[in-house]
Amino acid sequence: MSGRAAAVAAAGVAAALLAALADVLQGQGGMTVSEALSALTGGGRALDRAIVEDIRLPRAAAGALAGGSLAAAAVLLQAVTRNRLADAGILGLTAGGALAVTAISAYASTATAGTTIAAAFGGVLAGALLVGALAAVGRAGPVRLLLAGMAVSLALSAVTAAIRLVRETETGGLFLWGAGSLMQLGWGTVTAAAPAAAAGLLAALLLARPLDVAVLGEAAARSLGQHAGRVQAAAGLAAAVLAAAAVAVAGPISFAGLLAAFAARAARPRNHLELLAVAVPWGAAIVLAADVAARLLLGTESETPAGIVCALIGAPVLVALARRLPAETGAVAEPARAAARRRPRLALALLLLLPAAAAASLCLGELEVSVSEMARAVAGQGGPLAEIAFDLRGPRLAVALLAGACLAAAGVLMQGVVRNPLASPDLLGVTGGGSLGAFAVLLAFPEAPSGLLPFAAFAGGVGALAVVLLLAGPRSASPSRLALTGLAVTAACTAVTALMLLDAQPEAGVAVAWLAGSTYASGWDELTLLAVPAAVLLPLALLAVRRLDVLALGDDAAAALGLRLRGVRIGLLALGASLAAAAVAVTGAIAFVGLMAPHAARLVAGGGHRRLLPLAIVLGMTLLAGADVLGRLAFAPTELPSGLVVAVVGAPYLGWLLLRGRAVAA
């Protein structure tokens, strides 16, 4: 090991120990520093010794375990993806674990600690498999993989939120854990997760040398006699095990691994062994320092999750890293047009689903109204019961249709500009900014009428995009830089929102209900709020199809054809963000539609935007309207938020797509 790396690694160990000591000295019990110190050295009251032993030391150990594991996971993932921005949180691994644990708590409240940990492993592993499948097909470029991971992460988080909405009382206790809290009681969780973390770390150390070869590229690796696929799979699995251990002890924490790997590279390690040796202690130090800082700043009276602080520190670092990315110039391989075939008959069949979903939505429900009666009500001549049914179903259907159309169009636009078929409207900060906008208004004006919320959410969503464009810098043309900045801004918005929620601000519940990701209870007012922007923005999107086609040819070709790249990109992004923000403002964050509808459309319509965009819009409408009616009827009278239904359909679809290797090819 080089002297420099060894020194930085030693400094990391010292920093971690120092942070751990500071962490042990903090607590909620009103113990003084000297009492805590003497308890730590085996003196003082028996109670204080027990508190240090059962509560504070496990907490510090959890922080060290989570931080070290996330750092090692990040190193592995960065090597596998050949991307220095990979992180278990960013790639959706921890979100998978969080979803699984939330689901277990929601539907099996008597789950033991062991079951909970097993669920975390299952969830992370599922997330990792998704990423692994992506890695297998993601040869077109590491940034694409990262974007796919982000999309998966955002979508899984949306499902978690929906489950918490449905099973409110059961998941109430998960609030702190869900934001990345180190709170422990006893050594049970830490000791259960430690073997996994140790195994993962050992695997990482063993894989260090093969990874040195693997990052040289597949051809070089093969010429050196290495089976690149096996090394990647092993590293991915080890990263999953490490991330699961971290999720089990501390909930989903993002950015800690990224920060640690970033700091470690500053020591200019010569190989992966050195990188790991530096990153792991620094990862532990970062998470522990975040925990100490959170409690110093916000006090110990209530618990403040360290994950929030990690996100607040990590987001600006990610922005800085993104700014350093070289702007991609020249053509980016976009095999979409070549690979996709047109399937007109399938397209026609899909188109017929829309009227079927609409008819089902109007005619089925708890209120028994015959088809003919409903038809009369639509014409304004129904009986009183049919009138009520139409008032409940009509605007709700229309909102689902319009929101689906807006999200799908936003997806097509953003995927066209970012040139990644896995980009989604959430990526550019629209959703996170929307939530923050609504919360900020409620905080500043607690008595503000709820009619103001959609406007606040819309302003927040579009504002977040403006921030993203500003932060991405003068060369905001670069798609990957845009996407990363979007992710950072989203993470920062989410962290600030979580901070506001921590103190249970009086009106927070109102905003949570508003932003739940559901078409529930949309009425004529909501329809108007959505119809006006949709009527302006959707035609504009349809007018942009030619520009999108030119953009798909790559920067050089597009410039040669006379396209003012920067202006066009920003214009199209603003259009996409406005479309998405209009939908978010009325229905909250509904994931997957903006991802799935363009995808499915590409499969049947090919890559040309003239056909792709309209078909994607129709599919988006069908998807959301279908999810809405399904969520309303499946377990009536219990409603499932349509965002959850879309995700339940969407996640397997995405997985299937990835496994078939179409994600990039199609």
Binding site: G27, Q28, G29, A46, L47, R49, A50, I51, D54, I55, R56, V101, S105, A111, A113, T116, I117, L165, V166, E168, T169, E170, G172, G173, L174, F175, W177, M183, L185, G186, T189, A248, V249, T300, E301, S302, E303, G365, E366, L367, I388, A389, L392, R393, L453, D503, A504, P506, V510, A513, S518, Y520, A521, S522, G523, R632, A636, P637, T638, E639
Partner: protein, 299 residues
């Protein structure tokens, strides 16, 4: 004695009948849907069977109140089924502000909506208890049972005296008590300790006890953290008042040295209440809470 009781019952029934016979329209509501459990409880307390309640299974799981047969479930409290509510043809819907952000307009098309605000902006000592009684009166008034509500409140008020006596006899007059509810997960159990603005703290005072947990009042009436918090109040009494769903978590807490070394655990001043309690309920759940806290302390 017997005839006089019968007479009183008869008079009460006649009174009820008189109210029931009141004309529809602007008169008292007959078919009521409750979107939150405590309002369903208020209705049951004044002898009105709601036509619909949100998440009946949840209510029976988490609160000590049983729902009579024939009441329809109208879905979750966060997104109740508007069509199911409409199909019940209610004349009144009762819901707290935070639950009907999206659905208020539609609910108003279906029936009159009474919007409640159980967690007001400014809160202090006793706030949530006063709100609980006030909302009971409002609900009762809406269904024409104002007198019954007053009787229920008087009966709740009277129910404290014998409990207070029992506590005094056990030497617990003016004792300082912290009441906690377990939360979080088995892996990372948390503790919710009730602050002075909560119903629970108000109940303690009515039992002649004092709330030992003096953290500044929080919106929902509790602070949330780990069990280390108890070190601050270890010289006082502690009561776990919990829904039975958390019994495993409580067992896990009690296995730790950080618990057994607490003075309150060592001196046997830590108690768990038997059976379900729900600290966010109406007069029935509150009465059960008072009885069970007393029972746990006196034992």
């Amino acid at each position: 004695m017997r005839p006089r009781l019968t007479l009183a019952l008869g008079a009460a029934l006649a009174l009820v009948a008189a109210f029931s016979a009141a004309p529809a329209g602007a008169g008292p509501a007959k078919r009521v849907v409750a979107i939150e459990w405590n309002y369903a409880e208020d209705l049951l307390a004044v002898g009105v069977r709601p036509v619909g309640i949100a998440d009946i299974k949840g209510m029976e799981d988490w609160t000590p109140v049983q729902v009579p047969a024939g009441v329809k479930d109208v879905g979750t409290r966060t997104e109740p089924s508007l069509e199911r509510i409409a199909a019940l043809e209610p004349d009144l819907i009762i819901a707290p502000k935070g639950r009907i952000v999206r659905s208020l307009d539609q609910l108003r098309e279906i029936a009159r909506v009474k919007i409640m605000n159980p967690f007001p902006q400014k809160q202090g000592r006793d706030t949530q208890y006063r709100v609980m009684l006030d909302e009971l009166r409002q609900v009762a008034k809406a269904v024409g049972r104002r007198a019954r509500a007053d009787a229920v409140i008087r009966s709740l008020d009277r129910s404290y005296a014998p409990l207070r006596k029992r506590l005094k006899k056990a030497g617990l007059a003016r004792a300082k008590v912290t009441v906690g509810m377990a939360g979080g997960t088995l892996a990372a159990p948390g503790l919710r300790l009730f602050t002075d603005n909560s119903v629970t703290a108000a109940v303690l005072r009515r039992l002649g006890l004092r709330n030992a947990w003096t953290a500044k009042p929080r919106h929902y009436g509790y602070t949330e953290g780990g069990i280390e918090q108890l070190r601050k109040v270890e010289r006082n009494w502690f009561v776990f008042a919990y829904p039975r769903q958390f019994s495993d978590i409580i067992r896990g807490i009690q296995e730790q040295d950080a618990w057994t070394e607490l003075a309150l655990a060592r001196n046997g001043r830590a108690r768990t209440v038997p059976g379900n309690t729900w600290p966010f309920g109406g007069p029935l759940a509150t009465r059960v809470l008072a009885q069970r806290i007393t029972g746990a302390l006196v034992r």
